[in-house]
Symmetry: C2
Subunit: 351 residues, 2 copies
């Protein structure tokens, strides 16, 4: 197995390093040979090459069986609306060039962490849903986009084809069939032409999945109900921009954002990353929580290699580290906090 490692910016390199320890321990335990190849992305790549997703990095991803990615983003690029190159462009280029059209974002709770949720326990305990966010279309990539000549008017284009909607929706339907059989299509069909195509396309597909109950909800209503009744959801499908907002909203309700993994899937390529950001304030301090990246590695064994036992072994040792309190300061709750590298070592040893 060939794994491309894209540590990226901020705490990315530190958390990826821990995931590598755990992956190596899994390889040893289950008798796999794993090759790693590391490549720069984001601000790190701009600093090196001027390009946030250089061709050389793309080549590394293409020849890998899976990509494990840290985080992207550097404050020095954030508040400059005129900056020509931004780290995030690397992320978008990577998604587009690798064809990663489906971003899979589960939200679930850990018994030992659910008390950290900003929501009341009865609202959130046992929450278990998953978003399928379309990741290579919509207003993120639509043309035309830009300014008029005088620079006084700006525009972006949201665009979707039936084909793009269909392939994402099918993933959602199939996931729902393996779960609680409820699919929620999130759109703004009362305003947007693109959303009406989403709704229409999903309505046409629904008869092929008679065991799945389909609900249609407006994005603003979902933004409310995710907080009010998050347990009501099972699988949600939505377009790129709505998914960006709602999956981030969803990520804080479990109380364990630092632990949430994600997968970005295409026909040819598969990428795995924690949902947390590059957290620049913590970079280099050996305090970042590596569990989101390590659970993303578990998702990788499951989704990319179809190795369920290996995936389960990682999840299990993570659960043990949580119950034994071998955790970083963000979730140590006043008890002894371990360093990022210590957590990685413990997990690799105890796997």
């Amino acid at each position: 197995m060939n794994i491309a490692l894209l540590p990226g910016d901020g705490i990315g390199p530190e958390v990826i390093a821990q995931a590598v320890k755990v992956i190596q321990a899994v390889a040893k335990k289950f008798g796999h040979t794993i090759h790693f190849e590391t490549a720069p992305v984001g601000a790190a790549a701009i600093d090196l090459t001027g390009d946030p997703y250089p061709e050389s990095t793309h080549a590394v991803c293409l020849r890998a069986d899976a990509v494990l990615f840290g985080a992207i983003g550097d404050p020095k690029y954030d508040n400059d609306p005129k900056a020509k190159v931004r780290p995030e462009q690397g992320l978008l280029a990577m998604r587009k060039k690798l064809g990663l059209f489906a971003n899979v974002r589960p939200t679930f709770t850990f018994p030992s962490l659910v008390h950290k949720s900003p929501l009341k326990l009865d609202r959130v305990d046992g929450v278990d849903f998953v978003f399928f966010r379309e990741l290579t279309g919509g207003i993120y990539f639509g043309e035309p986009r830009g300014r008029n000549e005088q620079g006084t008017k700006a525009f972006d284009t949201n665009v979707y084809t039936k084909e793009e909607i269909t392939r994402l929706a099918r993933m959602g339907f199939e996931a729902a069939q393996k779960r609680r059989k409820l699919l929620t299509c999130v759109d703004k069909a009362n305003v947007l032409a693109t959303s009406r195509l989403w709704r229409e396309t999903v309505q046409e597909l629904a008869p092929e999945y008679p065991d799945v109950k389909v609900e249609y909800e407006f994005v603003d209503a979902v933004a409310m109900r995710l907080i009010q009744w998050p347990k009501a959801y099972d699988v949600l499908i939505t377009e790129n921009l709505f998914g960006d907002i709602l999956t981030d909203e969803a990520s804080v309700i479990s109380g364990s954002m630092g632990l949430m993994p994600s997968a970005s899937l295409g026909t040819e390529n598969k990428l795995f990353e924690p949902i947390h950001g590059s957290y620049p304030q913590a970079a280099g301090k050996d305090i970042a929580n590596p569990l989101g990246t390590i659970l993303s590695a578990a998702m990788m064994f499951d989704y990319a290699f179809d190795l369920k036992d290996e995936a389960a072994a990682i999840s299990d040792v993570v659960n043990r580290s949580l119950s034994e309190g071998i955790v970083t300061e963000d979730i140590a709750d006043g008890a002894k906090a371990y360093k990022t590298s210590e957590v990685g070592d413990w997990l690799a040893e105890n796997l």
Copy 2:
């Protein structure tokens, strides 16, 4: 004073009727003469005229000093992506034709209701922020929008001019000056050309308001922080679509969504409405909570007529009804519930 009444759909007529009682009581107490003119909008107007915002209704709004609006929306139009006329088009036409470019949405808590919040008390108690959502631009109105000939591709256009951003942003800056002097500009400047124009425009205006601290946050980050640290916000400004999603998200955190008022302001016209929807399941049952509409009437006295005492008199009697438990079943908490009409009567009598 001439007030246009647009009850709209679902529970709209019932809650507007209670606001009228309270406005009449205020008029009597303070010696004002108020004329009401009622006109249909939404599904109600489609049923009557085929148009969700008929010219005759527009004429009524134009000759009024302020518009008091109930709610719009009927489930019979919701799940038909091919419906030619939808009630919501009436809402959008109304906003556009009346030039209501700024939607003002306060979020605050009532001591007697904050326990109903899905958030933990310490996160939400004392929350007090206000959104200024741009309401007549962006992807709601941008052209081109629609489908390709075969119907297999749909598109929408997000578009903003510097002028549109400036007039909304100035309202936000001015509000911040009268409040805690913090302005948050919410955008997606790492992806959208329109957002970069928003950020640039706000950055250019900021020096004119040296007493206001300006922060720039991405919409996905705000979707998280609204739940995690809602007390951190004071005034937020944002574009139409982000505002739609975030103000609805914000509305549930206080635990008193049924009570939240809003104003939609333009240069010539002003409209006031509760933020709740048409709630069709409750229509005609005399159980809907009229307080959101009544507090919107208070906002009307303040923003449209600059009559602060009258506005305060309404807020005061609403607070008394809450502390004395003269409330509808949604907030009665197991105690005796009053009918919509009884709450209206009590408020009018006790004002």
